[in-house]
């Protein structure tokens, strides 16, 4: 799973090269269940544009002979989406937030051979 070793009663830990670990509560509903929102800090966004890796593309091309799941693309998209999430979390952390509510994801093909993965939400301070 893309969350790694994480349990539900802990906030998501941001995995960056930052010395101090950043942890945020996230949900795609209007509140953070079990917490009280004390302040709303505004919109936060994170996005990344990824192109395919040539080696992966060759394997995906071979997989296209039978169809079904294209694991190379699934992994690529998962990595990218996590990166977009981390950028959003970093932005929220910079604003002094400790949670993001109403998280939404969007995917679009911006150019031939590249896709943009975008996520956005509302940064909040919860207690």
């Amino acid at each position: 799973m893309n969350h790694g070793e994480r349990f539900i009663n802990e906030p998501t830990v941001l995995n960056t090269m930052q010395p101090e670990a950043v942890s945020l509560f996230m949900s795609n509903v209007e509140t953070i269940p079990g917490k009280t929102i004390t302040r709303s800090l505004g919109l936060v966004t994170g996005s990344t544009v990824r192109a395919k890796h040539l080696g992966k593309d060759i394997f995906a091309g071979l997989k296209n002979i039978v169809g079904g799941e294209l694991k190379a693309y699934t992994e690529l998209l998962n990595e990218s989406r996590n990166e977009a999430l981390q950028r959003m979390m970093l932005q929220a952390h910079g604003m002094g937030a400790n949670g993001i509510v109403n998280v939404r994801f969007a995917t679009s093909s911006v150019a031939a051979g590249a896709s943009e993965l975008f996520c956005y939400g509302t940064a909040v301070f919860v207690e």
Binding site: N9, N28, P33, E69, L70, S115
Partner: protein, 164 residues
């Protein structure tokens, strides 16, 4: 007589040679996709039982979130596509229109699989229910040229997992 045979061979030979790859790919695709679909259905029967309850898997952000102790954001995506042979024959089918069976099968598989994985992720994190499920579909074009015989569809599912 032999001249007719030669003529037939001249016509059919290249035709079969051109169709050999699409036919193989089509056949392999049908077989493989049936297999993974059956495997998924079997997995759903045996493992996916705990969230089948209507109250535990919903697209609404219900009042259950108010009494929950904690939550987690869940997100899973999967990339699926029909086989090249299926794409080839679908092009012919699209001349007359109607139901594109190969796409039906692949998209059905992708959507079920992504929901299954969402449930698995929720279980792994210790959630007791999943709320506000959102499903998104997008076409991912990693192909360099637009008229490429390859296409993949991404399914993204995201939700809030609750521990109540």
């Amino acid at each position: 007589m032999s001249e007719t045979l030669v003529l037939v061979a001249w016509v059919l030979g290249p035709l079969l040679a051109t169709l050999a790859f699409p036919l193989t790919s089509w056949g392999l695709g049908r077989w493989y996709q049936n297999r993974v679909m059956n495997a998924l259905l079997a997995k759903e029967k045996t493992e996916g039982g705990s969230f089948q309850d209507a109250n535990h898997l919903s697209t609404a952000s219900s009042t259950a979130i108010l009494s929950a102790r904690s939550s987690a954001l869940l997100h899973v995506s999967i990339c699926v596509g029909p086989s090249m042979g299926q794409m080839f024959f679908m092009w012919f089918k699209s001349l007359v229109g109607g139901r594109l069976h190969s796409y039906d099968v692949v998209l059905e598989y992708g959507r079920r699989e992504v929901l299954y994985r969402l449930r698995q992720q929720a279980k792994a994190l210790g959630c007791t229910s999943i709320h506000n499920i959102r499903l998104e579909t997008s076409v991912i074009s990693f192909a360099q040229n637009q008229d490429s015989k390859r296409s993949s569809v991404e399914f993204l599912a995201f939700a809030t997992g609750l521990l109540s």
